[in-house]
Symmetry: C2
Subunit: 243 residues, 2 copies
DNA sequence: CGTGGAATTGACTTGGCTCAATCGTGGTGG
DNA sequence: CCACCACGATTGAGCCAAGTCAATTCCACG
């Protein structure tokens, strides 16, 4: 029968996560939405250009990380927004309001949703509407909190805050076997652009946190938190030694 | 008859602005919402504490400016979010997600909306829902753009960007007689906290922009833009002299 | 096993912070 | 009406965290 869960949704985080959008849909809605959407895996570094977004302005992140990258004159670049598992992006009319483009910061799986179906579901399915609303509010709060990090913290504090946030955002994912192991879903260079610092400084700061025995780097993209409470204190801006 | 527009709404920007929330409501909805809401004027510096927000988590800004202020250890402070005319804040569950509190940065008029009525209106009135959704997206985009300013720009560029943004946000307001006259709705100190710099640096930067003949300060809280295109170029990060 | 891009390290420079002194200004009381 | 006061803005001098530039080192990949 046509009401079974589509194959492409079975393994998708948006369907399997308790707080995933597709988990809120009826089977009928899921089938309809799926029929007019398509998911794809994009490689690190590839961009989602404006033309594609005009046709498919609604997209959900299944895994990996999307960054909203802006380029200033002189080659300076910034990654202003970071979107991860479960985030739903509504980029209708974004061209006028948001300079920059979406870039995959690591291998990323996304699902492009049909705007018409999406809108219809929001009209009729209250649980889905509440979840989408809540996700958008979470994105806003995260953006604001990130702004406060950028405005008020030094390099050490910003990197610590980022690590703590990474740990927290990955935690809800199912099947995590090790709470203290954190994946950094992007390159040093991208992280620098996100945190408003040079890659050299990012590198020095990681080394610094290692020397303080707060973390241990496992590889370039993963690390282990050795002292989460202390890391949180640094992230919160409580001076390492002073009152 | 009970269906007339309530007195307290007659002069309100949310009702009179074309893009205001209350302009989208039927007279019946407006009367009902008004009966369970209340507007008030708050002085510069006063805070809206968490307890009040628990009972009245939805509020709309009629005029003035609200800042979301965070205090780090050691007295460092940050204004992470800036809300102005027409913005609708949904702070349900904000306590867990957003550290900091709302502060009035200038004399500000807000309207506290009944969450129950608000939610009901969103369910039944599509035009209102679309507007609220769009306003929240605008807030997200602004927060992201602000983050990109903080991450990638120097003092001169940040201040220029802020002035341009102020001019743009004030422009839609009715009855503006002078396009180039910009009101800065906060003190130097607050502006510094918002832009991630010290008040001294803010001051020096204003002077610097004046010396470059891009602006002329009229008072502490208002200035005139002398060369908008050039100011825009500075704000966009195009080096003043270099390529 | 080489090759190219990314990360790291070190040396030097600088934009913005800090601290301290002074100037303006709006509100208050005589 | 004016002197005074308190707070915020401004200015200046000196310093430091982070940026810049250049040289290696480290990986991932063919």
């Amino acid at each position: 029968m046509s009401c079974l869960v589509p194959d492409s949704c079975r393994a998708c985080a948006l369907y399997n996560d308790k707080a995933g959008f597709c988990a809120r849909l009826s089977q009928g809605e899921l089938v309809e939405l799926n029929a007019q959407s398509h998911s794809e895996t994009i490689r690190r570094g590839s961009r989602i250009c404006g033309q594609v977004l005009e046709r498919w302005p609604i997209l959900a992140v299944e895994r990996g990380a999307l960054g909203l990258q802006q380029v200033f004159a002189g080659g300076r670049r910034t990654i202003a927004g970071l979107f991860m598992r479960g985030d739903i992006l509504d980029l209708r009319n974004a061209a006028e309001r948001l300079p920059g483009e979406l870039v995959a910061l690591s291998e990323t799986r996304i699902c492009r949703l049909s705007p018409a179906r999406f809108e219809r579901i929001l009209q009729t399915n209250e649980a889905a509407r509440v979840l989408v609303w809540d996700n958008l509010r979470a994105q806003t709060f995260r953006a604001i909190a990130h702004g406060s990090d950028l405005a008020g913290k030094n390099a050490r504090e910003k990197v610590a805050a980022f690590i703590v946030q990474c740990a927290g955002r990955a935690a809800p994912a199912a099947g995590r076997h090790d709470e203290d192991l954190v994946e950094i879903p992007m390159r040093r260079r991208d992280l620098g652009e996100y945190l408003g610092m040079q890659p050299e400084t990012v590198s020095r700061t990681f080394r610094d946190l290692e020397k303080s025995r707060l973390i241990r780097a496992c590889s370039l993209t993963s690390l282990r938190i050795l002292d989460l409470p202390a890391l949180r204190r640094v992230a919160a801006g409580e001076a390492s030694g002073a009152a």
